[in-house]
Amino acid sequence: MSEDLQASEQSGVRFTRRKNVLFGKDRDSIIKGFFGSSATVAIVVLGLITIFLFKEGAGFLGSYHKSLQEYRLSGLEYVDILKEPRDDFSALNRYLTDIRAEWIQSLKAQGLTKKEMSAIVTAPEAKALFLRYLRTGSQLRGFIKKKMDAAIEVRDRFITNENLRETVNNYTAEIEAVSQTDYDPEAEERSRHALRLKQYLRENTLPEAVSQRTTEVIAGLEGEAPFGEAARTLILKLLQEQSEETRRAIQPVDFNKSIAVITGDQASYATILTKMKADIHTLLDQADAIAFNNPALEKRVERFGELNEQFLASFPKHKAKLAVWDQNEAIPPWRALVAFLTGKDWVTASDQQDWYGLLPLLSGSLLISLIALLFAVPFGVGAAIYVNQIAGPLERNLIKPYVEFVSAIPSVVIGFFGVVVFGEAIRLLSQFEFMAWVPFFPLQERLNAFTAGGLLALMAIPTIFTLAEDAINNIPRHFKEASFAVGATRLQTTLRVIVPSALSGIISAIMLGFGRVIGETMVVLLCAGTRIKIPDFTDGLGVFFQPVHTMTGIIAQEMGEVVRGSVHYRALFMVGIVLFFVSLLINFGAQWVVKKYRRVGD
């Protein structure tokens, strides 16, 4: 055997044991472990993010449900119903103001002097309509204001009470802890006790002996002295006193009693409405005396009269709505979720009621994504087809890195560019005479969905371009050759063979571009105009030029200033969850498309 070994050594062929490099592992298993652990870490982090997101968001439904309940119990909901006619009335007022402005414009166009104009506009019959109309609603406004203040006061007192109760509970828990015989406070608690005692000393005039003892205890607490009986007694006494004081501050709120203030006065409310009706009728009758000498204006005034009739006719319905309102009607728990998902308002830090409705944000996000894709898809896919199929090698080597370079521009830089250059340029362009044919030009807002969408398109183009180009590049060359061999032109080959074969890849590229766009934050925060309102889709294409807010933008904007654990804080996490699901859906969609339409190339 030793001879064998010698022979093998001589010939240079020898099997050695695997060498251990680190902790008894050889190189292969270390490399394997490295890659394995990287994958594990990635999965764990993703899991943690998901869990955290859901943990923070989960409490939202409960808190929001509670808030909605308070909204109903306190009577704020009733006040909001009361407000409906007032809001309609305000809209009518705006309409009237518009008419007046138009009237003045038309007078100006007739070439009248200022004096003549003011004489016409302030004629008694004109004054009656334009100035007194607003006054007909003043009683209604006053009534609602009173009710609203009452409801807010009740709601606020209720919330204050809740906070006070929690403070009392904290006191009780502390008293419980301190009265344990083996109570040994940490340094932090000691200093808190000391602080509290100091404050007590400062704010009360105590007998010399008590004051002396307290000072000693404070010194003991601040020093290293053990927690003695003297300290315990003093602290317990103080805690009990303060707890009692807080308890006394609680003024119980009985919603059922307090509601009377709000829902009462039905009779005077009815009187107000009746009087308003009469006033408006008188005013409108007088308005017939005004000579506008302008058919368009007369038509509008006529329309104003019709609208007023509609408004007045809605009173009985409104009263019926008030009558059926029930303070104690229970709000089912799922209402909170529905209110979130289908809510039309996102109102925070309001003195009345906070609303957390997703729709304005979701619609803003989708609108901006739509605009972005409208630009990015033709440009991205077109550029991919051009570079892969038509461009020569020189062009290809020039275009590809440049397009891909766009994705290296930080989004905040693009956003800055949007604010300073792009948005301003669009607004200036819209003010030129020759652009007047566009129905919604000139634009008032520099920052709007179009500005943000246009810039997001710029950010999505590299994604779509790169992925679509890959997809087209993966189409086997022999498809192209086969097409050419039967006499197809380059264009025919591209459109009829290459693009249809690469369609699954192109669609998934578009989906991933969409994912990129809807998740983008900085640009939309800077350029979208941050107006939290559902875009007015009745405006036709003009909807593209309205300022909007987005899901990502609202999180970035408001997360910094919310109170941790509040409804608002949790609502932002809920928005995050929705965003998470939207992105998930897009990714799954892209994968599904690839799988479903994957062609067997070979």
Partner: protein, 264 residues
């Protein structure tokens, strides 16, 4: 075969393709050197030679398929098809390719239905009439001996066919634009013997209507199918003549070595 075939003359009597001192290069690498030969009308001409000898490159010159590759050039020489210099500036490549069809080494049907694959060549010419397309599709599939196998599943994806069927479909697709010449670049190299036999049978049948130029690695196939054979080596045409002569009595010792299997 009972009938006595007259001995084939050394040069084709009715040449359809005339190649004169043809040179071809990929960038600075010359691939074909000074080739001159005539290819006879309605004959099967086989191009043989070891890998990398330029026979496929040569074949792809006939329908200017090499135009698709960047940096190719023709330093000198010409190819005339039916008397027209195909590398002339005035020649419409699209028109040329309709005259000179091609079947590739790897079957390459489009990821479309069987019907659409065949109709493709017509549709790109702007022919939309259903009845015309229908009749051409049937004619071509019959011509490619595929009709009976696929007539009930014309709307199914061509990718679901077997390898041999796919290759015959590609031949049918090439027939659809009614070419005069069909170039075949090792059409059977990826097929099993049974499928190969079917394709060979088909080629034999097509001979009476089409001029066929076939590149093959398979010596037996060349011997079985072709009327004339050209042997290429390192980009040069070494020997060209009636197939019988090339295989039985080659003049050049290199040809002899290759056909007898001593290298290649």
């Amino acid at each position: 075969m009972n009938e006595v075939t007259p001995p084939i003359s050394p040069t084709p009597e009715k040449p359809i393709i005339e190649i004169r001192n043809f040179n071809f290069a990929y960038g600075s690498t010359q691939a074909l050197f000074d080739i001159s030969m005539d290819i006879g009308e309605k004959e099967v001409t086989a191009l043989i030679g070891p890998s990398g000898c330029g026979k496929s490159t040569f074949l792809r010159c006939f329908n200017r398929m090499n135009d698709l590759i960047d940096n190719t050039r023709i330093p000198s020489g010409e190819i005339k098809i039916s008397g027209v210099d195909i590398y002339n500036r005035d020649v419409d490549v699209i028109e040329l390719r309709k005259h000179v069809g091609m079947v590739f080494q790897k079957s390459n049907p489009f990821p479309k239905s069987i019907y659409d694959n065949i109709a493709y060549g017509l549709r790109i010419q702007g022919i939309k009439r259903k009845s015309q397309l229908d009749s051409v599709v049937e004619e071509c599939l019959r011509g490619a001996a595929l009709w009976d196998e696929v007539k009930d599943r014309l709307s199914e994806s061509a990718l679901g066919m077997s390898g041999g069927q796919q290759q015959r479909l590609c031949i049918a697709r090439a027939l659809a634009v009614k070419p005069e010449i069909i170039l075949m670049d090792e059409p059977c190299s990826a097929l099993d013997p049974v499928a190969t036999a079917k394709v060979e049978e088909l080629i034999h049948g097509l001979k009476k209507d089409y001029t066929i130029v076939i590149v093959t690695h398979n010596m037996q196939q060349a011997a079985r199918l072709s009327d004339r054979t050209a042997f290429f080596y390192l980009g040069k045409l070494i020997e060209y003549g009636p197939t019988e002569q090339i295989f039985m009595n080659p003049e050049n010792p290199k040809t002899e070595a290759y056909v007898s299997g001593r290298f290649g």
